[in-house]
Amino acid sequence: MRRLTKLSAVAAVAALALAGCGGSDSEGGSGSGSDKTAASDDVCKSADGDGPKIGLAYDVGGRGDQSFNDSAYAGLEKAVEDFDATCVEGEATDGEAESAREDRLRNMAENGAVAIVGVGFAYSESVNAVAPDFPEVNFAVIDGFDPDEDANDNVAYLGFAEEQGSFLVGVAAAQKSKTGTIGFVGGVNTELIQKFEAGYTAGAKAAKPDIKVEVQYIQESDLSGFGDPAGGKAAATGEFDKGADVVYHAAGGSGSGVFDAAVEAGEGNFAIGVDSDQYLTATDAQKPFILTSMLKRVDTATYDFAKSIDAGKPLVSYTVYDLKADGVGYSTSNKSVISDLTADIDSYKEKIISGEITVPTKP
């Protein structure tokens, strides 16, 4: 029996070790060898300037998610180039403990990073806990919020006016729709994703008051809704079956399923991407069906933060990147389907910037 216990312990340890290899926690550059191919084009492995050292702590998904985290990386890459900076990276794993995030941030600060960006609201708590211990280091949390009353004077919260960008793609969807019905697929029914829904619906109604918007969320609270292409496809197919001919997704990795649903629905049906210009990363089969994407310029926010550090006037407290600041927007890479709508969309954009239209943040 003892032998069995030992064996099972060995099996469990081996499993954990192997599972650990899977994550690409490349901080400290200890060379786990897990991302050899990716390493060749990772700017943090080659940067050796004498500018500020920037730490980038990714959310679950990490670099290579072709969305949120990659966008932050793009901003970092530009900052490294422009300010001769160096950088360290770290990545969250699914379902990790709060303390793991804190350790990651501490590790970066102790390794000499003077500016640390937590990508995603999940870093709000851990940054709040770590920041007071490193008064010399500046922190930023993308999509973050201050969890308690006393503000840290070395933390910046970089938010986005997602509802404004969603408003614009809502206009595009309504104008493109021939059936009078459009759809929305959210990954998880949280306050953040509801902002997308609210803006989208408002934009669609502004362009066509009698438009019908089908709304569906893949999960209510389980974060797996952001990584379930099969669920995304089922939800979007349901909306296409109900007569929708344009479907907007705010569902992260589940979005590729939404694109597949548009492809299956056939010509005349479209999907709208989110966060980054998804036309550029979509497959050849999906490309003609992607009307536009709601852009959330995480790269701009990351770059701006690095710039403020380099200039010696670090950003603190809340900054909202809205249409005016070019923090959100829409893409026009699929020219043949979007070009006749841009004039109309841009007129709404002007109205939002001038304050003539206020976009709701709750559906």
Binding site: G22, D222, S224, G231, A234, G238, T283, D284
Partner: protein, 412 residues
């Protein structure tokens, strides 16, 4: 000889007849609910097609569970083997097309199964511990392999590989159109059957048909061949099997390998049919749901098919139309009351009363509300299964030696 044949035919007739009646009554009930609540989506061809797609991965995993547990090995590593399958399908489809991709998914799943077999059969590791390890290894290995290989591929990244070619889809032209016409009339009963036919004859993936065929093949092999009998004897009483000259280790190995391969095929289905690409974490616990569907199905092929269909149907229904979940309440309420009547007829008064109260509560809920809260709709598949398990659990019987360690020569 002749007596045996007569008896066999008797069994077949009895089974098919009762299944036929239950099926017909079920369709009539669903049709009734559809008309009363005016939710055509309840049996729309689109819903049924989505349900078939949602069912297949779960079904494949459940079949995997069946093979392993019938040979006495609990395989909660199905999830990990499924994850390995998604990677295998992506890799091999990218290079050699979808059917080799499916073989690759099966191969990767089989490797997961091999690990489980070595740990549990050869070394006698606790089945649960080994299964948990397989799940962790599967997730870790797939992530690692994806990061190492996919970024260089077209449409690939460290976490995904999109744009994979799907297995061919079949449409039977005449039947499909006819069924579509009838389904659109929304007649009682006839249209429901028609939309079912339509879903089965319009753009159905050959891989879906393959997975359903696997259920039949598994049933025949496990219950109608001497190989199957020996395999099941290893799950019921391995010591007796050993005394009769069965090589228990070999049978357990074969069963767990097939189990892993089936789970891998389920993963392959997710990557090729449910969506058009691999992405990390896309299984989302479907392996565990497959295991639950197998228990729900009382370790029988027909039962686990019903279990997987229940899961797949309710899950796709709530993803497509939140409103139709409300109509589902009426369906569940009536079904519970019918079940209560059946139990009362059989003389099980207490049980009947409990079920009747549950049924009445669900009916009252249906009548007093207009919508089901969103928070609840997500739970629909789980709650439905929990209900059925709670009601049917008295009759569940797992293989007698399931999960017990067995050492060669322990028969003394």
């Amino acid at each position: 000889m002749s007596a045996a044949t007569v008896q066999k035919r008797g069994i077949v007739e009895r089974l098919t007849k009762s299944w036929l009646y239950i099926g017909l009554a079920g369709v009539a009930l669903v049709s009734f609910v559809r008309i009363v609540t005016d939710t055509d989506d309840l049996t729309g061809a689109g819903t049924i097609r989505a349900a078939i797609i949602a069912t297949c991965p779960i079904l494949a995993a459940a079949l995997g569970g069946l093979w392993a547990e019938r040979a006495g090995v609990v395989n909660i590593g199905l999830e990990g083997q499924m994850i390995l399958g998604t990677w295998g399908a992506a890799f091999f489809t990218y290079h050699y097309g979808p059917w080799v991709g499916i073989a690759g998914a099966a191969l990767l799943g089989l490797i997961g199964g091999l690990l489980h077999a070595i740990a549990t059969v050869t070394f006698g590791v606790d089945h649960i511990v080994s299964g948990v390890a397989i799940n962790l290894i599967g997730a870790g290995a797939a992530t690692y392999l994806a990061e190492a290989i996919f970024p260089d591929y077209e449409g690939g990244g460290p976490r995904q590989l999109n744009g994979l070619e799907a297995p061919a889809q079949i449409t039977i032209p005449g039947v499909s159109d006819l069924a579509n016409t009838i389904a659109d009339k929304h007649w009682f009963f006839v249209s429901d059957v028609a939309s079912f036919v339509q879903a089965l004859t319009t753009n159905i993936s050959t891989l879906s048909l393959f997975v359903f065929a696997l259920v039949i093949v598994s049933a025949v092999v496990l219950w109608r061949t001497s190989f199957g009998l020996r395999l099941r004897s290893c799950g019921e009483n391995p010591q007796s099997a050993e005394t009769l000259g069965v090589n228990v280790y070999l049978y357990k190995y074969v069963a767990v390998l097939i189990s892993g391969a089936l789970a891998g095929i389920g993963g392959g289905f997710l990557a090729l049919v449910s969506s058009s690409g691999f992405s990390t974490g896309q299984t989302g616990g479907r392996g565990y749901i497959g295991l639950a569907a197998m228990i729900f199905g009382n370790w029988r092929p027909g039962g686990l098919l019903a279990g997987a269909l229940t899961f797949g149907y309710t899950d796709s229904l709530r993803l497509r139309d939140t409103q139709s979940v409300h109509a589902l309440l009426l369906l569940v309420g009536i079904a519970l009351l019918a079940f209560a009547a059946y139990r009362a007829y059989r003389g099980q008064i207490t049980g009947a009363a409990v079920v009747a109260v549950a049924g009445a509560a669900v009916l009252a809920w249906f009548l007093l509300t207009d919508t089901v809260p969103r928070e609840f709709t997500v739970m629909t598949p789980y709650v439905t299964t929990l209900f059925v398990l709670a009601l049917g659990s008295q009759r569940l019987r797992m293989p007698a030696a399931d999960g017990r360690p067995y050492r060669r020569g322990s028969a003394g």
